[in-house]
Assembly symmetry: C2
DNA sequence: TTCGATGCAAATAGTTTGCATTCTA
DNA sequence: TAGAATGCAAACTATTTGCATCGAA
């Protein structure tokens, strides 16, 4: 990368537009780099670098783990990708625009839910009121019990 | 540990009472184990295993890192200690009863603030209302800008 | 005197970096 | 064909585990 130009977090609507952003920034569109983007566009939840390198476990062509990390860093610098930590274990990567408002993780059933913009706004307002903090929830999830598991503490679904 | 008896998270008010809990559970009070507790009682913020092993950087006697991890695991199983992740880098350990209601991390100035019980309750209620989730904030912090940094975005204090 | 706990070393997971080679622009 | 990106290997950080030895009860 010569000089990080488009550092505003601009979500790419499609693989095509993401590639356009790469080109617009003087970056090359290599096979490995395109692959990382393809996996991210194919995944609906945040995925680990390992999962990307394996091509989502074989559904897509595999590539080198070190290159995946380097590409994720590049894509993150462009604002096309974010990373977050949904618990212990490897970090997870998502396209900007998917779950930007935050995530909630259920400790009982393990499910990860995106927060809707309106939900996040409500919570942000509460935090602002209680603490003065201007928060976002994009790097760590909110952890607790989802509605279902909170009601049936002994028999968590799934 | 023979059999984890006191698994209810009972905060120890003092080093003395923590040692009592160890004894009550048939665990031995070794030098290394007492040292881990001493560091935790001396620290006001959550500390890394590395910081504990170094005796808070020399202020207290040092000990072996692997033993520190093993002891933290034991103390966590007894409910005397919790761990959390305040950002990237190593996990941090705290005594139960210190910041159980959660933490808020400022991205600009890097400070970590404990949430007060009432603050946490307000936020929990908001999350419950918005999402149905029954949350706690003890494993990951709330991340954002503290009141001061939110007001002066370009000149973060300290 | 026994077995729980220690200390050292080696293993493991996640991530980063160095460097010669490949391939995009 | 210049230099960005790759792939492999090695380094690094955080954490866990094996095992012979030590020491608290």
């Amino acid at each position: 990368m010569t000089d990080p130009v488009a550092v505003r977090p601009l979500a790419a609507a499609s693989l095509h537009s993401a590639i356009g952003t790469l080109r617009a920034n003087g970056l090359r569109v290599s096979t490995a780099r395109r692959l990382v983007l393809e996996v991210l566009f194919a995944a609906d939840l945040p995925v680990s670098a390992e999962a990307i390198a394996s091509g989502l476990g074989g559904r897509l062509p595999a590539s080198d783990l070190a290159s995946v990390y380097r590409n994720l860093e590049t894509l993150e610098a462009l604002g096309l990708v974010r990373h977050l930590h949904l618990g212990h274990g490897p970090g997870r990567y998502v396209l900007t625009g998917r779950g930007d408002d935050g995530w909630a993780t259920c400790e009982a059933c393990g499910r990860h839910e995106r927060l809707a913009r309106a939900q996040a706004a409500q919570v942000r307002a509460a935090v602002r009121g209680a603490t003065g903090f201007e928060v976002h929830f994009s790097h760590f999830p909110i952890v607790g019990l989802c509605r279902d598991c909170a009601l049936a503490p002994d028999a968590p679904p799934a």
